[in-house]
Amino acid sequence: MGKIQLSQVRKSFGDVDVIPGIDLAIEDGEFVVFVGPSGCGKSTLLRLIAGLEDTTSGTIAIDGKDATHLPPAKRGLAMVFQSYALYPHMTVRKNIAFPLKMAGMSDAEQAARVERAAKVLNLDSYLDRRPGQLSGGQRQRVAIGRAIVREPSAFLFDEPLSNLDAALRVGMRQEITELHQSLKTTMIYVTHDQVEAMTMADKIVVLNAGRVEQVGSPLELYHSPRNLFVAGFIGSPKMNFLEGAEAARHNAATVGVRPEHIDIVDGGPWQGTVGLTEHLGSDTFLKVTLDTGETVNVRASGEVGLHHGDRITLAPQAGKIHRFGADGKALA
């Protein structure tokens, strides 16, 4: 079991309301990602769930029981930290066994569980090394191993991949997703990287200034962002926003079109000049300055023979235009 329910959870540091009041339900077995820019309160929210910070008001229920005032160890959760937070003076074996030792488990049971976790995470040959003798990826695996041996009701990950290089990050991302598929345990994952959020999550919680902007599956957020913030935050490259005449034509204060939903066609409604071009082989990214003075990013599939200074005409795909009101909220 790993159902977590937050009701009006509020956290302030002195006079500053970091989290003004959040309601959120996390179902058993879900992979939930908290995503948002730095300072949005996503790590604080995770720490409140972990019990590493006290809530100012509101309740946190885990598996139906009020856990608001329980100490971290009594909540049945395991956490993987950004800095790995391994015990540097202990071997990998002892690091992984530490929570079991604290739980008063017998030596034989500890050894069996450590072996099992080490096998899952390919750590068998490193068990007698110290964290200082391991690479970043291996350390991260040890941190995950230390979390899984406890068989917690939910895992909490606090930006676990941000200290790894790009290539390793993609590999670890897949490993964590596979781990979730095999364990089927609730996972809450904090990141500022929307690509991580989109690729890993069952459900994404987009946070901004301590408020939940939207909760939904990755594709829900991609196709139906509730407001300008979510529209701009989810998707890479970022959604283009146009105001003025173009927006007025669609009865909105702002319209948004994703770069991949703009076609380069002859006789399209938007005329412009190509500025920067980025050729990735599979895709070409173009920065186009429209004659109206606005700039849009365009993602074209494959190689297009366009260069700086070329004149082009563009057309947004039908049904892919997002309309927003003056208050920033999406219009139906």
Binding site: L52, M79, F81, L86, P88, H89, M102
Partner: protein, 276 residues
Amino acid sequence: MARAASPRRTLLTTLAAWSVALVIFFPVLWMILTSFKTEASAVAMPPEFLSADWTLENYETVWSRSDYPRFFWNSVVISVGSTLLGLAIAIPAAWSMAFVPGKRTKDLLMWMLSTKMMPAVAVLIPLYLVFQRIGLFDTKLGLILALMLMNLPIIIWMLYTYFKEIPGEILEAARMDGASLWNEIVYVLTPMALPGIASTMLLNIILAWNEAFWTITLTTTKAAPLSAFIASFSAPQGLFYAKLSAASAMAILPILILGWFSQKQLVRGLTFGAVK
């Protein structure tokens, strides 16, 4: 890039360093030399740097006239005891100041340090009377308590500095792993801060070992440590420099040996965290 020093510069720096070291060490050296001289040679004017008639007589006299092993044992019990007791109190105190600081933690630290600035003489009479009333006068327990309290601010300050170097996330990880506060301190914090704790312990043993004001005034015979042993050779029998030197050499020898073997640890501990 490291600056390349010319050989001449290196030589001059080395000479300067040795000169300073010699100036600092000279009193100890002079004391050791004097302890092997006759009383006449010890007070000779002009001073005889290297005496013609070396003798071990002072050591024999000092050894036979007093109960050195008892003083030595008292010193060991008092310095080690006060240090261990101090650490037992200071580790949790420094833990709370380093990891769960309050608004007034910095003020509290300054206040504790300020107690070290108080002249000891100011509390001599009250402490003397209190010790006599409650039966702690001339007891090892009394001195352990007194020296522990004298050095506690320094122990807490040193440990606080070392603990600040330990990332808080590691302690949070221990908390998530189910460690109680006790287990967190015993299994995670203490082993990680061991170099710092070791140097704090060594420094404190040295301070307590060399403490003379309180050990002399709060003891007579039973609990008197080596500092009182040295004093006993200066006061009642007039000034016998050679014997006094022999007694002093015997008193500092154990701590000198301890310091020599642990100097690496001491330097590492004292500069811990100074550079990454």
